[in-house]
Symmetry: C2
Subunit: 655 residues, 2 copies
C-alpha cells in the first residue's frame, strides 16, 4: 500500500515536468543531471538538416515500411483486428517500439498532432495484444507458447520488453498517454511475480532490458524494478540455465557483470549491458560495478574502437575482436553498436562529469553514428566500414531493421545530449547553435527562486571553431559554466566578455568558468578546427604507414568519385603537406568542408604488382603527384557505389 | 563386356608397375608424368626427420586416437562386429580413409608388414559394412537412411567416398589388396546406375570426389568414371536442387566450374574443386576449363595467398576473403587448405611444366603445410596464422580431425613430388638428398631399351644453396635435365662437370640442361640462399610498413621466447641491417638456421600508448636498439604458448 502511494507520487511528479534522455535527478551517484529534450531548442547548423530529414523523411518512411512488412499486423492478429500470418524475425516488436521511441522524442521537442495520433493508434494496437497476465510478445504465441522463456539465449523476449518500456517512457515524457507505460509495468509486474532466484530463472539473452528497467525505476521508484536489474546483472542463473562459456561470451550476459574484464562477443549486447550496469551504478554506487565499467571502458578506447567511434569489428557474431583487431574494410561496426557506445558513455559521463566520455560520444555521434543514415534520410547503413569497394552499403530496409529506428531515436533525442546541470553549475557537452532554457540545480532539489538559466549558443561548429555563448541567469548568481575542450583541440582559448580567461585550458577536460554570471554575459570559445593528420598505434596492424585526416570532431574519408586523375584511390598515398586546402562547399553533400591534400599515385597499378616481392624492388616503385580530395566520413556512399578509404597510406616529407 | 575387358587390362597393367602420386602417364594433356613414390629414396636432410616422425609417431598415434574416438567402431557396428552408438561428426569415415591413404604411401616407399596388416584389418572392417547396393557411409544409417542424398550440401557422402577411393588406390599401388578398391568401384557403379542428368541429381557439397573419381578413371579407364567427374563439375543440377547463391559460393560446387571467376567460399572445398577440375583438364584438354583454372590461379597468387602458402583467411566459413584480405593474426589458413593448394598446383604443374606452380608448392610445403605438424609428430595445427598471442594452437586431436591425416599423407607421399619425367627428359622440382631410380619416357610408351635413369642428389638445402646431382643414364643419351630455379633466387648458377653452364639462368623457371648425358656426369647448382627481406603489396593493408624475413624457401618468424631484452615482441621493429647473422643451431628446434637481425624496441610499451594520436606525437616515439632472433615459421609454437610474428615492422636505414 505504501509502495503504491510512492509510485503514484513519482509518476505524478514526473508528469509534472519534462525529463531528459535519462532522468537521473534523484540518482544518488549521478554527478550530472540531464536536461529535458524540450528545454533545448536547436538552431541552424550542422545537425539541423539531419534532424529535419529525420522527422520529415526518415521517421515517416520507416513507419510505412514497418507496416508493409507486417510488423504492426503481428500485433493486430493477436487481438483479432487482422487476419495474417506472423511475419519477420522474432524480434520485430522491438523495431516498432524503437520507432515509437524516436517519434516520442520528436514530440518531446515540438508538438505534432498527427504524429501523436499515429503513436496513439499504434499503442492501441499493441496494448490490445497484451495478455491478461501482462505477457506481450508477438512471436511466442500460438504453437510457440510452450517455448516462452525456454530459449532465452536467443529469444529476445526481455529485449522486446525493454524497448517497449523505453518507448513508453519517452512517450509518457512527451506528455503522451500512460497507456503503453501501464502495459509495460503490467508485464514487468508479471516478471517480478514469477521470476527470480527462488522462482523461475530469467536471463537477458540480448541485454537491453537492464537499462530500460533501470529507467522504469526512475519513473516508478519501485525498488522491485531496480532489483530486477541487479538480479539480471548478477549472473545468478548461470548454473540453473546451464549456460555455456561461448554463450556467456557472445551474450555479454549470464555471468556476473563484475567478473567481466574485457569487451567480447556481440558488440551491441556488450554496449547495452554496459549501459545497464552503469544505470545500476548511478542508483547504487556499487564499487565493484564501477571498477568493472572502468576496465571495460579502457579496454574499448585502448584497442577496440575505430577512429569513427564504431565498435564491434567482426562480422562473425557481429562481435568485438581482440585488442587491435580493427580491420578497415572488413569492419562490421554496426550502427547500433556505435549508438550503444554513445548511450554507455552518456551514462559514464553522468556518473563522473569527465570529458573523456564526452569525447567518445562526440566521436561516435559525428562519425560512426551519423554515417548510418543517408543524407536524404531514407537509406541506412547496417555496417559502417572504414574502407569500401564497389559495394552497395546503404539500403532502405533490412529484415533485421534494428539500426534505422535506433538512428532515428538518437537524432530525435539529440537536444537532450547538449547540456547537463550539476550542483556546481551547467555543462556544455556539444557545440551547436541552440538555446537552453532551463534552470540550475536539479529537479530533485526544491527549485530555488532565481535559479532560472538561459544559455544561447551560436556557432558554425564543426565547420569552424568559434563558439559564442550568452549566459542569462534569471538573476546574477555564482556558478560554473563547464566548457568541454575536446581532446583533439590542444590550442583552445576562452574569453569572457572579451577578456581572455586566464586559467589553463586543457584539451580533453571541462574548463570550469566560475564567476558571478549576469544576464548577457558572453563567452567566446575558440577551438582549433583545422585539417590534422592522425596516426594509429602501430599495434593496429592495418593502419601502419597510414594516416587519417580529421577536421574538428569529423573524421574524413576519400571517395573515388572525387579523385580526378587518380584511376584508383587505393593506388594513392597522402604526401606530407604543410598547407592542406580546406574550402566550404555549400553544394557538396548538403554543405561540407572539402579538404584537398597533396598526394601521390603509383604509376603502375598495385593490382598489377606481385603480392610479395623483395624490399628493394618494392622500394623502387615510382609515383606521380596528385591532389587527393577528402569529404567527411559521415557523408560516404551518398553518391552511389564508389571506393572509399579513411586510413590513407602516408609518405612523410623528404622521402 | 568389352568395357569389362578393358578395365581388367588396365588394372592388371597398373598392378604390374608402381605409380606416382598421380598416374597421368596416359593422360593426353599431362606434359609431365609423375614418378612412382617408390622410385625415389629420400636421403638425410631437411625432410628426413619430418618423414621419420610421421611414420614412427604421427601415423601410429593417430590410429590409436581414431580408435579411441570410435571412428572404426562406426563401421564395426554396421556389420555387427561391435555394439556401440555412432560417434563423431558426419564425416569421420573420411578421417580413417585418409589415414589409410597415408599409411599406404608409407608402404609405397618401404615394406612394413605390421602396417600392412593393420590396413588389411581396417579394410576388412570397412568392407564388411558395405551394403549390397554398394552404398557405404556410417552416418546415413538407421533412422538417417531416409536422409541419404537428401542433404548433399552438407552431407559429405561423396566426400567420404572420394577419400575411400584415394585410400584404396594408394593401397593398391602399394601392392596391397584390391579389396577396398573393388568396394569403392562397387559404390561408384551404384552412383553411375542411379544418378545423373536423366536420373537422380548428384552434388558434391564438399568437392573431393571429382579428383578421386578422375584418379579412379586413371586406374580403370572406365569412361563412365571420367563422365561422373564432368557431370559434377558441370553444375547441371543447380536448378533441380534449388541451390542458393550463398551455397554455390560456399561449396565451390553446384555452378558450372567454368563460370567461376574467383576463389571464394570454403577454402578447402575451393582447392579440392580446382584440383578435380585440373584432373578433368589433364584427361580432356577442355579449353574453357583451363581458362577458368588460370584465372583462379592468378586470383590466388595476386591477392589471396599468404607468404606461407596458406590460403583461406576467414575463420567465418573457413573461407577465402576478398583480394588482399589477408590478416596475420586472424588468418584461418587451415592446414588442409594449404595441402589442397599443393595438390592443385601439382596438377597445374603436370599440365604445363611451368615453374610458377612448383614455386607455390614449395612455399606451401615448407611453410604453411610443414607448420601443421609439431616437430615431435603428435600435435597438429588446424589454423596456421602469421601472428599469434599466448594461445595454445597445437592439439593432439580435433573432433573435425581432417588436418592430421592430410598432413600425414602429404609427408608420406613426398618422394613422389621430387621429380617428374616428360618427353624431353627429367624435371627436378624439389631439392633434397635423394636417389631417383627410374627411367626416361613414360610408362604409356613402350619402354625404350637403355632409357633407365638414375639421379643422385646431394644437398643441405634449404639450409644451404648448393645442390649436386649425379646423372647416370643406363647408356649415354641426349635428353634434358630441367632444374627448377626458385622464384626467390635471382642469382643462381649451374655447372656441369665443373664447367659453368652458359645459358641464362632465370629465377622462377626451369633451366633446361640439354646435352648427351653419360654415367657419372655431375651437375652443381648454386642457389642464393641468404636472409632476405620481403615486402607485401601495399594493398595488403596489414603488412604495410612491415617486412618478412625469408631464407631460401623458408619463411621466418620471431617468437617471444627467443627475444632477450625485448619484453614484448610486438613492441619491436626490424631495422635495416647490412649483415643479418645466420648460424646453424643443431640443438635448436631439431636443427635450424637461426637469423639474428638488427632491431629496435619502443621504450614505452605500445599497449600503454593511445590508440590514436597526432602524427607528430607518434613520430616522437623513442626506441632503443635490440637484436631480434628469428626461426623458421614451420617450427613455431613448438615450445609452448609464446607470442609469434612473421611480418615485422621495419625501419629502413637512416630514419
Amino acid at each position: 500500500m505504501k509502495r503504491l502511494a510512492l509510485i503514484v507520487f513519482f509518476l505524478g511528479a514526473a508528469a509534472g515536468f519534462p525529463q531528459g534522455v535519462l532522468h537521473v535527478d534523484a540518482s544518488p551517484h549521478a554527478k550530472l543531471k540531464s536536461v529535458p529534450v524540450r528545454a533545448v531548442k536547436m538552431g541552424e547548423g550542422f545537425w539541423a538538416p539531419r534532424m529535419r530529414v529525420n522527422i520529415e523523411r526518415s521517421i515517416p518512411s520507416l513507419l510505412q515500411l514497418l507496416e508493409e512488412h507486417g510488423v504492426m499486423d503481428n500485433f493486430r492478429r493477436l487481438s483479432g483486428r487482422k487476419q495474417a500470418p506472423r511475419r519477420g524475425p522474432l524480434y520485430t516488436d522491438s523495431d516498432l517500439y524503437k520507432w515509437i521511441e524516436a517519434a516520442a522524442f520528436v514530440l518531446q521537442s515540438e508538438d505534432r498532432p498527427q504524429l501523436r495520433a499515429q503513436i496513439d493508434a499504434l499503442v492501441d494496437d499493441i496494448v490490445a495484444a497484451q495478455e491478461p497476465s501482462g505477457y506481450l510478445n508477438t512471436y511466442y504465441v500460438d504453437e510457440r507458447v510452450k517455448l516462452r522463456w525456454q530459449e532465452m539465449q536467443r529469444g529476445h523476449e526481455l529485449y522486446c520488453l525493454g524497448h517497449m518500456l523505453q518507448a513508453a517512457i519517452a512517450y509518457y515524457r512527451a506528455g503522451g498517454s500512460r497507456k503503453l507505460l501501464d502495459a509495460g509495468i503490467r508485464f514487468v509486474d508479471h516478471l517480478v511475480e514469477d521470476f527470480g532466484p527462488a522462482k523461475r530463472p530469467l536471463l537477458t539473452g540480448h541485454p537491453e532490458f537492464e537499462l530500460a528497467v533501470s529507467e522504469l525505476y526512475r519513473v516508478t521508484r519501485d525498488p522491485r524494478h531496480l532489483e530486477l536489474a541487479r538480479y539480471l546483472l548478477s549472473g545468478a542463473e548461470r548454473e540453473r540455465l546451464k549456460l555455456r562459456e561461448s554463450e556467456l561470451r557472445y551474450m555479454f550476459s549470464g555471468r556476473p557483470f563484475t567478473e567481466r574484464t574485457q569487451l567480447e562477443g556481440h558488440s551491441v549486447r556488450a554496449m547495452y549491458a554496459a549501459s545497464g550496469a552503469t544505470d545500476y551504478y548511478l542508483e547504487t554506487g556499487d564499487a565493484a560495478c564501477w571498477k568493472t565499467l572502468e576496465g571495460l571502458w579502457r579496454d574499448m578506447v585502448t584497442g577496440k574502437m575505430y577512429l569513427t567511434g564504431g565498435v564491434g569489428s567482426r562480422s562473425a557474431g557481429e562481435a568485438f575482436g581482440e585488442a587491435y583487431e580493427l580491420p578497415n574494410r572488413q569492419a562490421y561496426t554496426e550502427s547500433c553498436a556505435a549508438i550503444g557506445s554513445m548511450m554507455w558513455n552518456w551514462r559514464m559521463l553522468a556518473a563522473t562529469g569527465e570529458a573523456r566520455f564526452a569525447d567518445v560520444i562526440e566521436r561516435a555521434l559525428y562519425n560512426g553514428i551519423n554515417s548510418g543514415m543517408s543524407l536524404d534520410g531514407t537509406l541506412y547503413c547496417y555496417r559502417n566500414p572504414l574502407e569500401l569497394g564497389l559495394e552497395k552499403i546503404r539500403n532502405p530496409w533490412y529484415d533485421t531493421t534494428c539500426c534505422p529506428p535506433n538512428l532515428q531515436r538518437t537524432l530525435a533525442s539529440l537536444p537532450g545530449y547538449m547540456y547537463s546541470t550539476s550542483a556546481e553549475g551547467v555543462y556544455v557537452h556539444l557545440y551547436h547553435s541552440s538555446v537552453l532554457d532551463w534552470h540550475l540545480g536539479t529537479a530533485a532539489e526544491p527549485r530555488p527562486s532565481g535559479s532560472g538559466l538561459r544559455l544561447e549558443q551560436k556557432t558554425r561548429y564543426p565547420w569552424q571553431g568559434r563558439v559564442e555563448i550568452t549566459v542569462t541567469p534569471a538573476e546574477p548568481r555564482d556558478f560554473t559554466v563547464f566548457l568541454r575542450i575536446p581532446g583533439w583541440s590542444p590550442g583552445a582559448a576562452v574569453a569572457v566578455n572579451g577578456q581572455l580567461w586566464k586559467a589553463a585550458v586543457r584539451a580533453g577536460e571541462y574548463l570550469p568558468v566560475r564567476r558571478k554570471w549576469q544576464a548577457g554575459d558572453r563567452i567566446a570559445l575558440t577551438l582549433e578546427v583545422t585539417a590534422r593528420l592522425t596516426a594509429a598505434n602501430p599495434r593496429l596492424a592495418g593502419n601502419a604507414g597510414r594516416v587519417a585526416v580529421e577536421w574538428g570532431p569529423l573524421v574524413y574519408a576519400a571517395e573515388q568519385v572525387d579523385q580526378q586523375g587518380v584511376p584508383l584511390l587505393f593506388d594513392a598515398a597522402l604526401v606530407a603537406d604543410a598547407r592542406p586546402r580546406a574550402s566550404w562547399k555549400p553544394e557538396l553533400l548538403g554543405g561540407v568542408v572539402l579538404i584537398e591534400h597533396r598526394g601521390a599515385v603509383y604509376e603502375k597499378p598495385l593490382a598489377e604488382e606481385p603480392l610479395y616481392q623483395s624490399v628493394a624492388a618494392a622500394g623502387a616503385r615510382r609515383t606521380r603527384p596528385a591532389t587527393l580530395r577528402l569529404i567527411p566520413y559521415y557523408t560516404f556512399a551518398n553518391r552511389g557505389p564508389t571506393e572509399m578509404q579513411v586510413w590513407m597510406r602516408y609518405e612523410p616529407a623528404g622521402r
